[in-house]
């Protein structure tokens, strides 16, 4: 894996992550088949893939939010700033999640609590920071203390201003239902940035929004993350967004990373037939023809060993069914999990 060869230690380092579950008929189903992924400090990384590729599952695992059971981590490691996340306990997560590592969710409207005002939600966030439980005293003390209230209010207004929300003073008193999807997403971005996190995980933050709003949100996210010098892992199915936003890209298919490299390199010279297929399928604004990928995503139950893409691949040979090709370095940061990456021209 290329990232391990990089000079600095990765901020987030996922290696060989394997996740599966046991189906009701007692058959074992593997959903993530050894995911390798690394994010370095201050870097913007896109994780691209179609539905069912495991990108959301990977994010859940990194955030320690996998529903176990039914799911189970069957192998691999996840390290964040050197901490083994798979072994982390509740206290360790309390320090990390929501502080060092924050999430900008996919559905802005359902990600804010509808019964509290924007101000109250910030207040909780500010007083809970890094504590598992406050107890009744810890809950009421900041609420009754005028100085704390004023300080939190000022911090909230500052945060709302920083994401270009108009009239932050008025916004504090409003309920999420009174805000549009775009505004909710700005509020959530402000919340995610509040603790000066080292890593921001953005899970398709614009998919639920209109195109013009999505563009605004992405631009805002990019500016803020760069400003704070944080790293961002941006999950998306939209290749265009990945192209415009990220420094480095990981392409996932059927539960594993099939290609990674600098975004410009991967888009200009893809080295995995799946990446090529995806790029050819995106409708262009020019009149360039588009072409889909034949077949459908294989069922994880029937996948067996070998390259998961071989059923749909024009370049597949007998060897592709024999074993799962590892992600192997081609040049610099560029790596592809295709046996024939060196010999075929895509």
């Amino acid at each position: 894996m290329t990232s391990s060869a990089a000079e600095t230690e990765a901020l987030l380092d996922v290696r060989g992550l394997t996740v599966g579950f046991t189906d009701v008929d007692r058959s074992s189903v593997t959903l993530l088949r050894g995911v390798d992924l690394a994010v370095h400090r201050g870097e913007i990384v896109a994780l691209v893939g179609e539905s069912g590729c495991g990108k959301t599952l990977t994010t859940r695992a990194v955030l320690g939010l996998l529903p176990t059971p039914p799911l189970a981590v069957r192998g691999g490691e996840i390290h964040f700033e050197g901490i083994d996340l798979l072994a982390a306990d509740g206290d360790a997560w309390q320090e990390l999640r929501g502080r060092a590592m924050t999430l900008v969710p996919q559905h802005p409207l359902s990600s804010l609590n509808p019964v509290f005002t924007v101000g109250e939600q910030f207040f909780d966030l500010l007083s809970f920071q890094g504590q598992a439980s406050l107890g009744p005293v810890g809950y009421w003390r900041p609420r009754l203390d005028r100085a704390t209230r004023a300080r939190h209010r000022a911090a909230t207004i500052e945060a709302l201003k920083s994401v270009s929300l108009p009239d932050p003073e008025g916004l504090i008193e409003r309920y999420p239902a009174e805000l549009s999807g775009g505004m909710c997403q700005r509020v959530l971005i402000a919340m995610a940035l509040l603790s000066n996190p080292r890593l921001i995980i953005a899970d398709e933050p614009g998919t639920a929004l209109d195109v013009t709003i999505e563009a605004q949100i992405n631009r805002l996210l990019l500016t803020k993350v760069r400003e704070q010098g944080a790293a961002m892992l941006y999950i998306t199915h939209d290749l265009g967004i990945a192209r415009e936003l990220s420094d480095r890209v990981f392409v996932m298919y059927a539960g594993s990373v099939v290609e990674t490299g600098r975004t410009g390199d991967v888009f200009a010279r893809p080295r995995h037939p799946y990446t090529r297929g995806l790029l050819d399928a995106v409708p262009r604004l020019s009149s360039a023809p588009i072409k889909g990928i034949r077949g459908v995503l294989p069922d994880p139950k029937t996948l067996g060993s070998g390259c998961a893409f071989r059923f749909r691949c024009d370049y597949a040979i007998a060897a592709c069914a024999a074993r799962t090709p590892p992600l192997s370095q081609l040049s610099g940061l560029h790596a592809s999990a295709c046996l024939r990456a060196e010999e075929i021209t895509l």
Partner: protein, 298 residues
Amino acid sequence: MTSIAPSAPLDDEPHSVAVGLGTRAWASLRNSPLTVIGFLVCLGLVVMAAFAPWIAPFPEDAGAVVKFHQRLQPPSAEHWFGTDLVGRDVLSRIVMGSRISLATAVAVIVAAALIGVPLGVIAAYRGGWTGASIMRINEVFLAIPSLVFVLVVTSLMRPSLPVTIFAIALAWWTWYARLAYGEVLSLKEEQFVDAARTSGASDLRIAFGEILPNLTSVLIVKTTLDLGYVILLGASLGFLGLGPQPPAPEWGTMVAEGREQLPDAWWLTTFPGLAVFAAVVGFNLFGDGLNDILGGRD
């Protein structure tokens, strides 16, 4: 006009080898012993009713037989559940009585579903005044507790099995109407309804040909759960003397008759009571299990 590369020949494999209903049913039975118990009790009850004359040791005891020489005998090897005031075998009467309970329950539910489901479907699908009127009438029926309602109806007519069935069905259709109403209200927002409309399908075809089949799962579950409740209600009526009249071996009637012999001849009330209990619990457990199997999509 832009050009699009010709579509590749199609060789779509099946999207998934999704676990079939049979496998899912089996898995959920295995994980839930209560469902299995419920199923076995229900199966036992149905078999008992179907083959009652062959199962009952003294099938003739279901009727107006008098065997004074063996009256009020406690449970023994010959009479497992003892004998009653006139010497009839209690076990035989319970076995024969299962036919009455089950027949009542099935008849009531079929009638209630046949009245309630179409009314609920129409009310939800048409909406407007039609829907409002149906649902208001429904609420009037619903406002009266079913036992009270049935008591009033049966007291107006001479108590008998058909009257019991008629009375309970008249109280029970409201639940089916409400269930269908709620389900159709959400189903009619599905795009396949618009698709049927643009296909030129009539309202009747859309409501009953397209939407109704989507109600089967909830109806099966509801029906199973209800079989238990209706058996209980039927027994309550029998107990109050408003059900099938003696000598019919109705379980509730038997409990009522035996009540006077308490505490000495405890078997006269205990065993018919246990039969009612087993039936209610059995259908309930089985219905809950079915709900998990049929309703558990995804």
